[in-house]
Protein backbone atom coordinates (compact mmCIF):
# COMPACT_ATOMS: atom_id res chain seq x y z
CA UNK A 1 0.00 0.00 0.00
CA UNK A 2 2.66 2.46 1.14
CA UNK A 3 4.96 1.61 -1.76
CA UNK A 4 2.11 2.18 -4.22
CA UNK A 5 1.36 5.58 -2.74
CA UNK A 6 5.01 6.64 -2.86
CA UNK A 7 5.33 5.43 -6.46
CA UNK A 8 2.24 7.44 -7.46
CA UNK A 9 3.45 10.58 -5.75
CA UNK A 10 6.90 10.27 -7.31
CA UNK A 11 5.33 9.75 -10.74
CA UNK A 12 3.10 12.79 -10.16
CA UNK A 13 6.02 14.97 -9.09
CA UNK A 14 8.04 13.79 -12.09
CA UNK A 15 5.21 14.84 -14.40
CA UNK A 16 4.87 18.14 -12.59
CA UNK A 17 8.52 19.01 -13.08
CA UNK A 18 9.09 17.18 -16.35
CA UNK A 19 6.18 18.30 -18.53
CA UNK A 20 7.17 21.98 -18.72
CA UNK A 21 10.57 20.82 -20.04
CA UNK A 22 9.09 18.89 -22.96
CA UNK A 23 5.84 20.72 -23.78
CA UNK A 24 5.38 24.20 -25.23
CA UNK A 25 3.24 26.79 -23.49
CA UNK A 26 0.06 25.69 -25.28
CA UNK A 27 0.65 22.11 -24.21
CA UNK A 28 1.12 23.17 -20.60
CA UNK A 29 -2.10 25.18 -20.61
CA UNK A 30 -3.87 22.18 -22.13
CA UNK A 31 -2.48 19.91 -19.42
CA UNK A 32 -3.66 22.31 -16.73
CA UNK A 33 -7.29 21.83 -17.74
CA UNK A 34 -6.71 18.07 -17.81
CA UNK A 35 -5.55 18.35 -14.21
CA UNK A 36 -8.67 20.32 -13.25
CA UNK A 37 -10.81 17.59 -14.83
CA UNK A 38 -8.76 14.86 -13.15
CA UNK A 39 -9.44 16.48 -9.78
CA UNK A 40 -13.14 16.67 -10.63
CA UNK A 41 -12.97 12.95 -11.48
CA UNK A 42 -11.31 12.23 -8.12
CA UNK A 43 -14.27 13.87 -6.40
CA UNK A 44 -16.76 11.66 -8.25
CA UNK A 45 -14.51 8.60 -7.93
CA UNK A 46 -14.21 8.99 -4.16
CA UNK A 47 -17.93 9.55 -3.70
CA UNK A 48 -19.08 6.76 -6.00
CA UNK A 49 -16.29 4.20 -5.85
CA UNK A 50 -15.65 4.35 -2.11
CA UNK A 51 -18.70 6.01 -0.58
CA UNK A 52 -21.11 4.09 -2.79
CA UNK A 53 -23.08 7.31 -3.28
CA UNK A 54 -24.11 7.99 -6.84
CA UNK A 55 -24.28 11.68 -7.63
CA UNK A 56 -25.58 12.47 -11.08
CA UNK A 57 -25.04 16.17 -10.54
CA UNK A 58 -21.50 16.56 -9.26
CA UNK A 59 -21.20 19.44 -11.73
CA UNK A 60 -23.30 21.47 -9.29
CA UNK A 61 -20.38 21.59 -6.83
CA UNK A 62 -17.82 22.08 -9.58
CA UNK A 63 -19.83 25.05 -10.82
CA UNK A 64 -20.44 26.53 -7.38
CA UNK A 65 -16.69 26.33 -6.72
CA UNK A 66 -15.93 28.05 -10.00
CA UNK A 67 -18.49 30.79 -9.53
CA UNK A 68 -17.49 31.32 -5.90
CA UNK A 69 -13.88 31.79 -6.98
CA UNK A 70 -14.80 34.16 -9.81
CA UNK A 71 -17.08 36.32 -7.68
CA UNK A 72 -14.70 36.53 -4.72
CA UNK A 73 -11.60 37.13 -6.83
CA UNK A 74 -13.34 39.91 -8.77
CA UNK A 75 -14.51 41.56 -5.59
CA UNK A 76 -11.29 41.29 -3.62
CA UNK A 77 -8.70 41.34 -6.38
CA UNK A 78 -6.79 38.70 -4.41
CA UNK A 79 -7.10 34.97 -5.02
CA UNK A 80 -6.07 33.77 -1.56
CA UNK A 81 -9.46 34.04 0.10
CA UNK A 82 -11.20 33.24 -3.20
CA UNK A 83 -9.65 29.77 -3.31
CA UNK A 84 -10.77 29.08 0.25
CA UNK A 85 -14.31 30.19 -0.54
CA UNK A 86 -14.30 28.12 -3.73
CA UNK A 87 -13.76 25.05 -1.55
CA UNK A 88 -15.96 26.11 1.36
CA UNK A 89 -19.05 27.22 -0.59
CA UNK A 90 -19.73 23.85 -2.27
CA UNK A 91 -19.08 22.08 1.04
CA UNK A 92 -21.68 24.20 2.82
CA UNK A 93 -24.16 23.66 0.01
CA UNK A 94 -23.45 19.91 0.04
CA UNK A 95 -23.94 19.79 3.81
CA UNK A 96 -27.38 21.38 3.50
CA UNK A 97 -28.49 19.27 0.56
CA UNK A 98 -26.93 16.12 2.00
CA UNK A 99 -28.70 16.62 5.31
CA UNK A 100 -32.09 16.40 3.62
CA UNK A 101 -31.08 13.50 1.41
CA UNK A 102 -29.21 11.25 3.81
CA UNK A 103 -31.24 11.98 6.90
CA UNK A 104 -34.40 11.39 4.85
CA UNK A 105 -32.93 7.93 4.19
CA UNK A 106 -33.90 8.01 0.55
CA UNK A 107 -32.75 5.30 -1.82
CA UNK A 108 -29.67 5.51 -4.07
CA UNK A 109 -31.83 6.15 -7.11
CA UNK A 110 -33.49 9.11 -5.44
CA UNK A 111 -30.10 10.56 -4.49
CA UNK A 112 -29.12 10.31 -8.15
CA UNK A 113 -32.27 12.06 -9.26
CA UNK A 114 -32.12 14.82 -6.66
CA UNK A 115 -28.47 15.64 -7.40
CA UNK A 116 -29.18 15.64 -11.14
CA UNK A 117 -32.15 17.94 -10.64
CA UNK A 118 -30.17 20.31 -8.45
CA UNK A 119 -27.53 20.76 -11.14
CA UNK A 120 -30.15 21.27 -13.87
CA UNK A 121 -31.94 23.91 -11.85
CA UNK A 122 -28.69 25.67 -10.88
CA UNK A 123 -27.93 25.82 -14.59
CA UNK A 124 -31.31 27.41 -15.32
CA UNK A 125 -30.96 29.76 -12.38
CA UNK A 126 -27.51 31.09 -13.29
CA UNK A 127 -28.51 31.15 -16.94
CA UNK A 128 -31.29 33.59 -16.11
CA UNK A 129 -29.07 36.12 -14.34
CA UNK A 130 -28.18 38.27 -17.32
CA UNK A 131 -28.27 42.01 -16.91
CA UNK A 132 -26.72 44.36 -14.43
CA UNK A 133 -29.47 43.72 -11.86
CA UNK A 134 -27.83 40.42 -10.96
CA UNK A 135 -24.54 41.02 -9.27
CA UNK A 136 -22.70 39.97 -6.13
CA UNK A 137 -20.60 42.88 -4.98
CA UNK A 138 -18.94 44.28 -8.08
CA UNK A 139 -19.14 41.00 -10.02
CA UNK A 140 -21.99 40.74 -12.52
CA UNK A 141 -23.16 37.15 -12.97
CA UNK A 142 -23.76 37.70 -16.67
CA UNK A 143 -26.36 34.97 -17.26
CA UNK A 144 -25.68 32.78 -20.25
CA UNK A 145 -22.55 34.74 -21.19
CA UNK A 146 -20.89 34.04 -17.87
CA UNK A 147 -18.21 36.04 -16.11
CA UNK A 148 -15.23 37.07 -18.25
CA UNK A 149 -11.92 38.43 -17.02
CA UNK A 150 -11.65 36.47 -13.80
CA UNK A 151 -8.32 37.36 -12.13
CA UNK A 152 -5.80 34.50 -12.18
CA UNK A 153 -4.30 32.94 -9.09
CA UNK A 154 -1.66 35.02 -7.37
CA UNK A 155 0.96 34.24 -4.75
CA UNK A 156 -0.89 33.92 -1.44
CA UNK A 157 -1.55 37.34 0.01
CA UNK A 158 0.16 39.24 -2.81
CA UNK A 159 -2.36 40.35 -5.51
CA UNK A 160 0.34 42.26 -7.40
CA UNK A 161 2.13 39.07 -8.51
CA UNK A 162 -0.21 36.79 -10.50
CA UNK A 163 0.97 33.34 -11.57
CA UNK A 164 2.02 32.85 -15.19
CA UNK A 165 0.69 29.76 -17.04
CA UNK A 166 3.69 27.65 -16.09
CA UNK A 167 3.38 28.54 -12.42
CA UNK A 168 -0.37 27.83 -12.66
CA UNK A 169 0.52 24.38 -13.92
CA UNK A 170 2.76 23.77 -10.91
CA UNK A 171 0.00 24.97 -8.59
CA UNK A 172 -2.66 22.80 -10.29
CA UNK A 173 -0.56 19.65 -10.46
CA UNK A 174 0.73 20.19 -6.93
CA UNK A 175 -2.85 20.51 -5.67
CA UNK A 176 -3.86 17.35 -7.52
CA UNK A 177 -1.04 15.42 -5.86
CA UNK A 178 -2.01 16.83 -2.46
CA UNK A 179 -5.67 15.90 -2.98
CA UNK A 180 -4.61 12.39 -4.01
CA UNK A 181 -2.49 12.02 -0.85
CA UNK A 182 -5.34 13.43 1.23
CA UNK A 183 -7.80 10.91 -0.17
CA UNK A 184 -5.36 8.03 0.34
CA UNK A 185 -4.92 9.18 3.93
CA UNK A 186 -8.68 9.41 4.45
CA UNK A 187 -9.18 5.93 3.03
CA UNK A 188 -6.44 4.50 5.27
CA UNK A 189 -7.92 6.14 8.34
CA UNK A 190 -10.61 4.78 10.60
CA UNK A 191 -13.13 7.12 9.00
CA UNK A 192 -12.32 5.85 5.52
CA UNK A 193 -12.66 2.24 6.57
CA UNK A 194 -16.11 2.91 8.00
CA UNK A 195 -17.10 4.68 4.76
CA UNK A 196 -16.09 1.64 2.72
CA UNK A 197 -17.76 -0.67 5.24
CA UNK A 198 -21.01 1.25 4.76
CA UNK A 199 -20.70 0.90 1.00
CA UNK A 200 -20.27 -2.84 1.41
CA UNK A 201 -23.09 -3.39 3.86
CA UNK A 202 -24.96 -0.51 5.37
CA UNK A 203 -27.07 -2.56 7.75
CA UNK A 204 -24.08 -4.39 9.17
CA UNK A 205 -22.18 -1.14 9.69
CA UNK A 206 -25.20 0.31 11.43
CA UNK A 207 -25.51 -2.72 13.72
CA UNK A 208 -21.85 -2.25 14.64
CA UNK A 209 -22.76 1.17 15.96
CA UNK A 210 -21.83 3.50 13.12
CA UNK A 211 -24.33 6.06 11.86
CA UNK A 212 -24.35 5.67 8.06
CA UNK A 213 -26.22 8.94 7.60
CA UNK A 214 -23.43 10.97 9.19
CA UNK A 215 -20.63 9.13 7.37
CA UNK A 216 -22.39 9.47 4.02
CA UNK A 217 -23.01 13.14 4.64
CA UNK A 218 -19.32 13.70 5.46
CA UNK A 219 -18.20 11.77 2.36
CA UNK A 220 -20.58 13.86 0.28
CA UNK A 221 -19.22 17.10 1.77
CA UNK A 222 -15.57 16.11 1.22
CA UNK A 223 -16.29 15.19 -2.40
CA UNK A 224 -18.06 18.53 -2.88
CA UNK A 225 -15.01 20.39 -1.57
CA UNK A 226 -12.74 18.60 -4.05
CA UNK A 227 -15.16 19.31 -6.89
CA UNK A 228 -15.15 22.97 -5.82
CA UNK A 229 -11.36 23.07 -5.95
CA UNK A 230 -11.50 21.54 -9.43
CA UNK A 231 -14.01 24.19 -10.48
CA UNK A 232 -11.71 26.87 -9.11
CA UNK A 233 -8.78 25.55 -11.19
CA UNK A 234 -11.01 25.28 -14.24
CA UNK A 235 -12.11 28.91 -13.92
CA UNK A 236 -8.49 29.94 -13.52
CA UNK A 237 -7.47 28.09 -16.62
CA UNK A 238 -9.73 30.12 -18.91
CA UNK A 239 -10.12 33.25 -16.78
CA UNK A 240 -13.77 32.73 -17.53
CA UNK A 241 -16.81 30.83 -16.28
CA UNK A 242 -20.26 30.31 -17.76
CA UNK A 243 -23.34 28.31 -16.74
CA UNK A 244 -22.30 25.37 -18.94
CA UNK A 245 -20.21 24.19 -15.96
CA UNK A 246 -23.53 23.20 -14.37
CA UNK A 247 -24.70 21.47 -17.54
CA UNK A 248 -25.72 17.84 -17.90
CA UNK A 249 -22.79 17.20 -20.22
CA UNK A 250 -20.42 18.19 -17.42
CA UNK A 251 -21.97 15.76 -14.92
CA UNK A 252 -22.11 13.04 -17.56
CA UNK A 253 -18.46 13.55 -18.48
CA UNK A 254 -17.22 13.13 -14.94
CA UNK A 255 -19.26 9.95 -14.52
CA UNK A 256 -17.76 8.64 -17.74
CA UNK A 257 -14.22 9.46 -16.52
CA UNK A 258 -14.81 7.38 -13.41
CA UNK A 259 -16.66 4.60 -15.17
CA UNK A 260 -14.02 4.26 -17.88
CA UNK A 261 -11.06 4.64 -15.53
CA UNK A 262 -12.32 2.33 -12.87
CA UNK A 263 -14.59 2.24 -9.85
CA UNK A 264 -13.04 1.82 -6.42
CA UNK A 265 -9.64 3.17 -7.42
CA UNK A 266 -8.23 6.68 -7.22
CA UNK A 267 -5.82 6.47 -10.13
CA UNK A 268 -8.54 5.14 -12.47
CA UNK A 269 -10.62 8.33 -12.47
CA UNK A 270 -7.48 10.45 -13.05
CA UNK A 271 -6.42 8.34 -16.04
CA UNK A 272 -10.00 8.20 -17.31
CA UNK A 273 -10.28 11.99 -17.15
CA UNK A 274 -7.08 12.55 -19.09
CA UNK A 275 -7.91 9.91 -21.71
CA UNK A 276 -11.49 11.06 -22.33
CA UNK A 277 -10.49 14.73 -22.35
CA UNK A 278 -7.85 13.96 -24.94
CA UNK A 279 -10.35 12.04 -27.08
CA UNK A 280 -12.94 14.81 -26.71
CA UNK A 281 -10.47 17.38 -27.99
CA UNK A 282 -9.61 15.12 -30.92
CA UNK A 283 -13.31 14.54 -31.59
CA UNK A 284 -14.07 18.25 -31.24
CA UNK A 285 -11.86 19.07 -34.21
CA UNK A 286 -14.34 17.39 -36.58
CA UNK A 287 -17.76 18.88 -37.16
CA UNK A 288 -19.67 15.93 -38.58
CA UNK A 289 -20.85 14.19 -35.43
CA UNK A 290 -22.02 15.91 -32.27
CA UNK A 291 -19.67 15.01 -29.36
CA UNK A 292 -22.64 14.08 -27.14
CA UNK A 293 -23.31 11.12 -29.41
CA UNK A 294 -19.82 9.75 -28.71
CA UNK A 295 -20.17 10.31 -24.95
CA UNK A 296 -23.51 8.51 -24.96
CA UNK A 297 -22.17 5.53 -26.87
CA UNK A 298 -19.14 5.25 -24.53
CA UNK A 299 -21.40 5.41 -21.47
CA UNK A 300 -23.78 2.72 -22.71
CA UNK A 301 -20.93 0.48 -23.88
CA UNK A 302 -19.10 0.62 -20.56
CA UNK A 303 -22.22 0.02 -18.45
CA UNK A 304 -23.06 -3.05 -20.51
CA UNK A 305 -19.62 -4.47 -21.24
CA UNK A 306 -16.98 -3.18 -18.80
CA UNK A 307 -18.97 -2.11 -15.71
CA UNK A 308 -15.84 -2.21 -13.52
CA UNK A 309 -13.81 0.16 -15.67
CA UNK A 310 -10.41 -0.33 -17.23
CA UNK A 311 -8.03 -0.13 -14.26
CA UNK A 312 -9.77 -2.75 -12.04
CA UNK A 313 -10.29 -5.04 -15.04
CA UNK A 314 -6.59 -4.98 -15.90
CA UNK A 315 -5.59 -5.26 -12.24
CA UNK A 316 -7.78 -8.32 -11.73
CA UNK A 317 -6.26 -9.94 -14.82
CA UNK A 318 -2.70 -9.30 -13.64
CA UNK A 319 -3.05 -10.11 -9.95
CA UNK A 320 -1.89 -13.47 -8.64
CA UNK A 321 -4.54 -16.07 -8.03
CA UNK A 322 -4.41 -15.85 -4.25
CA UNK A 323 -5.47 -12.23 -4.15
CA UNK A 324 -8.11 -12.57 -6.80
CA UNK A 325 -9.80 -15.44 -4.97
CA UNK A 326 -10.03 -13.26 -1.91
CA UNK A 327 -11.55 -10.49 -3.98
CA UNK A 328 -14.01 -12.92 -5.55
CA UNK A 329 -15.09 -14.01 -2.10
CA UNK A 330 -15.69 -10.40 -1.15
CA UNK A 331 -17.59 -9.84 -4.36
CA UNK A 332 -19.88 -12.79 -3.71
CA UNK A 333 -20.48 -11.58 -0.20
CA UNK A 334 -21.39 -8.15 -1.47
CA UNK A 335 -23.68 -9.60 -4.07
CA UNK A 336 -25.42 -11.67 -1.41
CA UNK A 337 -25.73 -8.70 0.88
CA UNK A 338 -27.31 -6.66 -1.85
CA UNK A 339 -29.98 -9.21 -2.61
Amino acid sequence: MKAGLIAMVVAGLALMVGLPQVLDLFGIVQMTVFVAMAMFALSQGFLWGFGGIMSFGQAAFFGIGGYAYAVTALNMGDSTVAVMIAVAAPMIFAALLGYFMFYGRISDAYIGVITLTVSVILFELINSTSGSAYHIGSAELGGFNGIPGVPPLNFPGDPSSPLDPEQTWYAAMGTLILVYILLRAILASRFGRVVVAIRENETRAMLLGYDPRLYKLMTFVIAAGIAGMAGCLFTNWGGFISPTVFGLTMSAQVIIYVLVGGLGTLIGPILGAVAIQYLMIEAGSQNVVDPNLGLGVVLVAFVLLVPQGIVPTIRDKLLPLRKSTRRDLQATETAEARQ
Partner: protein, 288 residues
Protein backbone atom coordinates in the same frame (compact mmCIF):
# COMPACT_ATOMS: atom_id res chain seq x y z
CA UNK B 1 -61.29 39.08 -10.39
CA UNK B 2 -59.85 38.85 -13.89
CA UNK B 3 -56.46 38.29 -12.32
CA UNK B 4 -57.79 35.45 -10.19
CA UNK B 5 -59.31 33.90 -13.29
CA UNK B 6 -56.05 34.13 -15.20
CA UNK B 7 -54.06 32.82 -12.27
CA UNK B 8 -56.48 29.91 -11.88
CA UNK B 9 -56.13 29.11 -15.58
CA UNK B 10 -52.34 29.22 -15.31
CA UNK B 11 -52.34 26.94 -12.28
CA UNK B 12 -54.57 24.39 -13.99
CA UNK B 13 -52.42 24.47 -17.12
CA UNK B 14 -49.26 24.13 -15.02
CA UNK B 15 -50.65 21.11 -13.18
CA UNK B 16 -51.77 19.53 -16.48
CA UNK B 17 -48.31 20.06 -18.01
CA UNK B 18 -46.73 18.31 -15.03
CA UNK B 19 -49.15 15.40 -15.33
CA UNK B 20 -48.34 15.03 -19.03
CA UNK B 21 -44.56 15.12 -18.65
CA UNK B 22 -44.55 12.88 -15.59
CA UNK B 23 -46.99 10.10 -16.41
CA UNK B 24 -44.73 8.16 -18.80
CA UNK B 25 -41.81 8.36 -16.39
CA UNK B 26 -44.10 7.29 -13.56
CA UNK B 27 -45.36 4.23 -15.44
CA UNK B 28 -41.82 3.04 -16.16
CA UNK B 29 -40.57 3.73 -12.64
CA UNK B 30 -43.66 2.33 -10.94
CA UNK B 31 -43.57 -0.90 -12.93
CA UNK B 32 -39.89 -1.70 -13.28
CA UNK B 33 -38.15 0.59 -10.77
CA UNK B 34 -36.21 1.95 -13.73
CA UNK B 35 -35.57 5.68 -13.70
CA UNK B 36 -35.50 6.54 -17.36
CA UNK B 37 -33.04 9.41 -17.66
CA UNK B 38 -33.75 9.49 -21.40
CA UNK B 39 -37.32 10.56 -20.65
CA UNK B 40 -36.67 14.15 -21.75
CA UNK B 41 -35.16 12.89 -25.00
CA UNK B 42 -38.17 10.65 -25.62
CA UNK B 43 -40.26 13.81 -25.35
CA UNK B 44 -37.84 15.52 -27.70
CA UNK B 45 -38.30 12.70 -30.23
CA UNK B 46 -42.07 13.10 -29.90
CA UNK B 47 -41.78 16.83 -30.53
CA UNK B 48 -39.58 16.25 -33.59
CA UNK B 49 -42.11 13.74 -34.90
CA UNK B 50 -44.78 16.43 -34.62
CA UNK B 51 -42.63 19.07 -36.35
CA UNK B 52 -41.52 16.87 -39.21
CA UNK B 53 -44.85 15.22 -39.92
CA UNK B 54 -46.58 18.61 -39.81
CA UNK B 55 -44.06 19.98 -42.31
CA UNK B 56 -44.73 16.95 -44.48
CA UNK B 57 -48.36 18.01 -44.66
CA UNK B 58 -49.97 15.72 -42.10
CA UNK B 59 -52.97 17.15 -40.25
CA UNK B 60 -51.69 19.06 -37.21
CA UNK B 61 -53.78 17.12 -34.69
CA UNK B 62 -52.66 13.77 -36.05
CA UNK B 63 -49.03 14.86 -36.13
CA UNK B 64 -49.29 16.07 -32.51
CA UNK B 65 -51.47 13.47 -30.84
CA UNK B 66 -51.19 10.24 -32.83
CA UNK B 67 -47.82 9.91 -34.51
CA UNK B 68 -45.51 10.89 -31.59
CA UNK B 69 -46.76 8.23 -29.14
CA UNK B 70 -46.64 5.57 -31.86
CA UNK B 71 -43.11 6.38 -32.99
CA UNK B 72 -41.64 6.92 -29.53
CA UNK B 73 -43.41 3.80 -28.29
CA UNK B 74 -41.57 1.82 -30.94
CA UNK B 75 -38.27 3.49 -30.03
CA UNK B 76 -38.87 2.57 -26.39
CA UNK B 77 -39.65 -1.00 -27.38
CA UNK B 78 -36.42 -1.31 -29.34
CA UNK B 79 -34.36 0.18 -26.49
CA UNK B 80 -35.95 -2.12 -23.95
CA UNK B 81 -35.11 -5.17 -26.04
CA UNK B 82 -31.56 -4.13 -26.88
CA UNK B 83 -30.45 -2.48 -23.65
CA UNK B 84 -32.72 -2.06 -20.66
CA UNK B 85 -33.75 -5.69 -20.24
CA UNK B 86 -30.20 -6.68 -19.40
CA UNK B 87 -30.10 -4.26 -16.52
CA UNK B 88 -33.33 -4.84 -14.56
CA UNK B 89 -32.68 -4.84 -10.83
CA UNK B 90 -29.44 -2.84 -11.18
CA UNK B 91 -30.97 0.53 -10.55
CA UNK B 92 -27.83 2.69 -10.85
CA UNK B 93 -26.73 0.87 -14.00
CA UNK B 94 -30.10 1.47 -15.64
CA UNK B 95 -29.79 5.16 -14.80
CA UNK B 96 -26.31 5.28 -16.32
CA UNK B 97 -27.36 3.39 -19.43
CA UNK B 98 -30.46 5.51 -20.01
CA UNK B 99 -28.33 8.60 -19.48
CA UNK B 100 -26.04 7.31 -22.18
CA UNK B 101 -29.11 6.91 -24.38
CA UNK B 102 -30.15 10.44 -23.49
CA UNK B 103 -26.78 11.91 -24.52
CA UNK B 104 -26.70 9.71 -27.59
CA UNK B 105 -30.17 10.82 -28.75
CA UNK B 106 -29.34 14.49 -28.15
CA UNK B 107 -26.14 14.09 -30.14
CA UNK B 108 -27.86 12.11 -32.88
CA UNK B 109 -30.62 14.67 -33.39
CA UNK B 110 -28.08 17.52 -33.31
CA UNK B 111 -26.08 15.71 -35.98
CA UNK B 112 -29.14 15.01 -38.14
CA UNK B 113 -31.14 18.21 -37.74
CA UNK B 114 -28.62 20.72 -36.40
CA UNK B 115 -28.71 22.68 -33.17
CA UNK B 116 -31.56 24.93 -34.27
CA UNK B 117 -34.91 25.57 -32.66
CA UNK B 118 -37.92 24.63 -34.76
CA UNK B 119 -41.53 25.41 -34.10
CA UNK B 120 -44.99 23.99 -34.67
CA UNK B 121 -47.84 26.49 -35.06
CA UNK B 122 -50.42 26.53 -32.29
CA UNK B 123 -53.54 25.05 -33.85
CA UNK B 124 -56.04 27.00 -31.74
CA UNK B 125 -56.48 30.69 -31.05
CA UNK B 126 -56.79 32.65 -27.86
CA UNK B 127 -59.58 33.83 -25.61
CA UNK B 128 -59.86 36.51 -23.01
CA UNK B 129 -60.32 36.35 -19.29
CA UNK B 130 -61.65 39.86 -18.59
CA UNK B 131 -58.79 42.21 -19.39
CA UNK B 132 -56.28 39.45 -20.01
CA UNK B 133 -55.70 37.33 -23.06
CA UNK B 134 -54.90 33.63 -22.72
CA UNK B 135 -54.18 30.89 -25.21
CA UNK B 136 -56.82 28.26 -25.79
CA UNK B 137 -53.94 25.83 -26.16
CA UNK B 138 -53.84 25.60 -22.38
CA UNK B 139 -57.20 23.83 -22.62
CA UNK B 140 -55.76 21.35 -25.12
CA UNK B 141 -53.03 20.51 -22.61
CA UNK B 142 -55.57 20.09 -19.82
CA UNK B 143 -57.75 17.83 -21.96
CA UNK B 144 -54.75 15.75 -23.04
CA UNK B 145 -53.55 15.39 -19.45
CA UNK B 146 -56.96 14.42 -18.08
CA UNK B 147 -57.53 12.01 -20.96
CA UNK B 148 -54.16 10.30 -20.38
CA UNK B 149 -54.79 9.98 -16.65
CA UNK B 150 -58.30 8.59 -17.13
CA UNK B 151 -57.15 6.23 -19.88
CA UNK B 152 -54.32 4.90 -17.72
CA UNK B 153 -56.64 4.50 -14.75
CA UNK B 154 -59.18 2.64 -16.86
CA UNK B 155 -56.48 0.47 -18.37
CA UNK B 156 -55.06 -0.49 -14.99
CA UNK B 157 -58.38 -1.00 -13.24
CA UNK B 158 -60.79 -2.44 -15.78
CA UNK B 159 -58.81 -4.45 -18.31
CA UNK B 160 -57.24 -7.87 -18.06
CA UNK B 161 -53.94 -6.41 -19.22
CA UNK B 162 -54.11 -3.86 -16.41
CA UNK B 163 -54.74 -6.59 -13.87
CA UNK B 164 -51.70 -8.50 -15.14
CA UNK B 165 -49.62 -5.30 -15.04
CA UNK B 166 -50.55 -4.64 -11.43
CA UNK B 167 -49.94 -8.25 -10.46
CA UNK B 168 -46.50 -8.26 -12.06
CA UNK B 169 -45.69 -4.99 -10.33
CA UNK B 170 -46.61 -6.41 -6.92
CA UNK B 171 -44.98 -9.79 -7.24
CA UNK B 172 -43.29 -10.81 -10.48
CA UNK B 173 -42.43 -14.32 -9.26
CA UNK B 174 -46.00 -15.10 -8.27
CA UNK B 175 -47.26 -13.69 -11.55
CA UNK B 176 -44.79 -15.87 -13.41
CA UNK B 177 -45.96 -18.91 -11.46
CA UNK B 178 -49.50 -18.18 -12.65
CA UNK B 179 -48.44 -18.22 -16.29
CA UNK B 180 -47.61 -14.58 -16.95
CA UNK B 181 -44.31 -13.78 -18.61
CA UNK B 182 -42.85 -10.83 -16.66
CA UNK B 183 -40.26 -9.94 -19.35
CA UNK B 184 -43.07 -9.48 -21.89
CA UNK B 185 -45.04 -7.36 -19.44
CA UNK B 186 -41.98 -5.24 -18.69
CA UNK B 187 -41.39 -4.80 -22.39
CA UNK B 188 -44.94 -3.61 -23.00
CA UNK B 189 -44.90 -1.35 -19.94
CA UNK B 190 -41.69 0.28 -21.11
CA UNK B 191 -43.18 0.85 -24.55
CA UNK B 192 -46.34 2.27 -22.93
CA UNK B 193 -44.33 4.68 -20.79
CA UNK B 194 -42.27 5.73 -23.81
CA UNK B 195 -45.44 6.33 -25.82
CA UNK B 196 -46.78 8.58 -23.05
CA UNK B 197 -43.50 10.53 -23.13
CA UNK B 198 -43.86 10.86 -26.89
CA UNK B 199 -47.41 12.14 -26.47
CA UNK B 200 -46.19 14.74 -23.97
CA UNK B 201 -43.54 15.86 -26.46
CA UNK B 202 -46.08 16.12 -29.26
CA UNK B 203 -48.60 18.06 -27.19
CA UNK B 204 -46.00 20.46 -25.79
CA UNK B 205 -44.22 21.01 -29.13
CA UNK B 206 -46.26 24.10 -30.09
CA UNK B 207 -45.58 25.93 -26.82
CA UNK B 208 -41.92 25.00 -26.37
CA UNK B 209 -39.31 25.36 -29.07
CA UNK B 210 -38.26 22.05 -30.57
CA UNK B 211 -34.50 21.50 -30.36
CA UNK B 212 -32.18 18.57 -29.55
CA UNK B 213 -31.61 19.87 -26.01
CA UNK B 214 -35.24 20.62 -25.17
CA UNK B 215 -35.61 17.56 -22.95
CA UNK B 216 -33.38 19.10 -20.28
CA UNK B 217 -35.97 21.78 -19.66
CA UNK B 218 -38.55 19.22 -18.53
CA UNK B 219 -36.70 16.40 -16.83
CA UNK B 220 -36.02 18.26 -13.58
CA UNK B 221 -39.71 18.84 -12.95
CA UNK B 222 -40.70 15.37 -14.17
CA UNK B 223 -38.24 13.54 -11.90
CA UNK B 224 -39.17 15.56 -8.85
CA UNK B 225 -42.84 14.90 -9.44
CA UNK B 226 -42.32 11.14 -9.79
CA UNK B 227 -40.32 11.05 -6.54
CA UNK B 228 -42.88 13.22 -4.80
CA UNK B 229 -45.72 11.01 -5.98
CA UNK B 230 -44.46 7.77 -4.55
CA UNK B 231 -45.36 4.18 -5.41
CA UNK B 232 -48.94 4.64 -6.69
CA UNK B 233 -48.57 5.59 -10.35
CA UNK B 234 -51.85 7.37 -11.11
CA UNK B 235 -52.76 8.84 -7.72
CA UNK B 236 -49.13 9.72 -7.02
CA UNK B 237 -48.62 11.50 -10.32
CA UNK B 238 -51.95 13.31 -9.95
CA UNK B 239 -51.40 14.44 -6.36
CA UNK B 240 -47.74 15.40 -6.75
CA UNK B 241 -48.50 17.27 -9.98
CA UNK B 242 -51.22 19.21 -8.18
CA UNK B 243 -49.02 20.16 -5.24
CA UNK B 244 -45.90 20.97 -7.27
CA UNK B 245 -47.85 22.52 -10.16
CA UNK B 246 -49.62 24.84 -7.75
CA UNK B 247 -46.37 25.97 -6.14
CA UNK B 248 -44.57 26.25 -9.47
CA UNK B 249 -47.33 28.27 -11.16
CA UNK B 250 -47.93 30.61 -8.24
CA UNK B 251 -44.24 31.37 -7.69
CA UNK B 252 -43.64 31.68 -11.45
CA UNK B 253 -46.51 34.15 -11.64
CA UNK B 254 -45.03 36.29 -8.86
CA UNK B 255 -41.41 36.09 -10.06
CA UNK B 256 -40.00 34.21 -13.06
CA UNK B 257 -40.48 30.63 -14.31
CA UNK B 258 -36.89 29.89 -13.22
CA UNK B 259 -37.58 30.90 -9.64
CA UNK B 260 -40.73 28.80 -9.94
CA UNK B 261 -38.58 25.76 -10.70
CA UNK B 262 -36.26 26.61 -7.80
CA UNK B 263 -39.26 26.80 -5.46
CA UNK B 264 -40.44 23.44 -6.81
CA UNK B 265 -37.07 21.86 -6.12
CA UNK B 266 -36.79 23.39 -2.66
CA UNK B 267 -40.25 22.09 -1.75
CA UNK B 268 -39.34 18.64 -3.03
CA UNK B 269 -36.09 18.50 -1.06
CA UNK B 270 -37.82 19.50 2.16
CA UNK B 271 -40.59 17.03 1.39
CA UNK B 272 -38.28 14.03 0.99
CA UNK B 273 -37.10 14.67 4.54
CA UNK B 274 -40.69 14.37 5.80
CA UNK B 275 -42.08 11.87 3.28
CA UNK B 276 -39.09 9.88 1.95
CA UNK B 277 -41.41 7.45 0.17
CA UNK B 278 -43.42 10.17 -1.56
CA UNK B 279 -47.00 11.23 -0.91
CA UNK B 280 -48.55 7.84 -1.64
CA UNK B 281 -45.87 6.13 0.44
CA UNK B 282 -47.73 7.41 3.47
CA UNK B 283 -51.23 8.38 2.37
CA UNK B 284 -53.69 6.53 0.12
CA UNK B 285 -51.36 3.58 0.04
CA UNK B 286 -53.86 1.25 -1.53
CA UNK B 287 -54.61 3.48 -4.49
CA UNK B 288 -53.43 2.88 -8.03
Amino acid sequence: MDLVGLLGFNVVTGVATLVLITLGLGVIYGMMRVINLAHGEFMMLGAYTAVISHQAGVNIWISMLVLPPLLVGVVGLILERTLIRFLYGRIIDTMLATWGVSLGLTGLMATLFGNVVRAVPTPVGGFSIGRFGASLYGLVIVVAAVASLVAMLALLRYTKYGLILRATMQNPNMAAALGVSPPTIYMSAFALGSALAGLAGGVLAPISGVSPGMGAAYIARAFITVLGGGPAIITGTGLASTVFGLINSLVSFETTPIIGDVALLATAIVMIRILPQGITGRFLRRSL
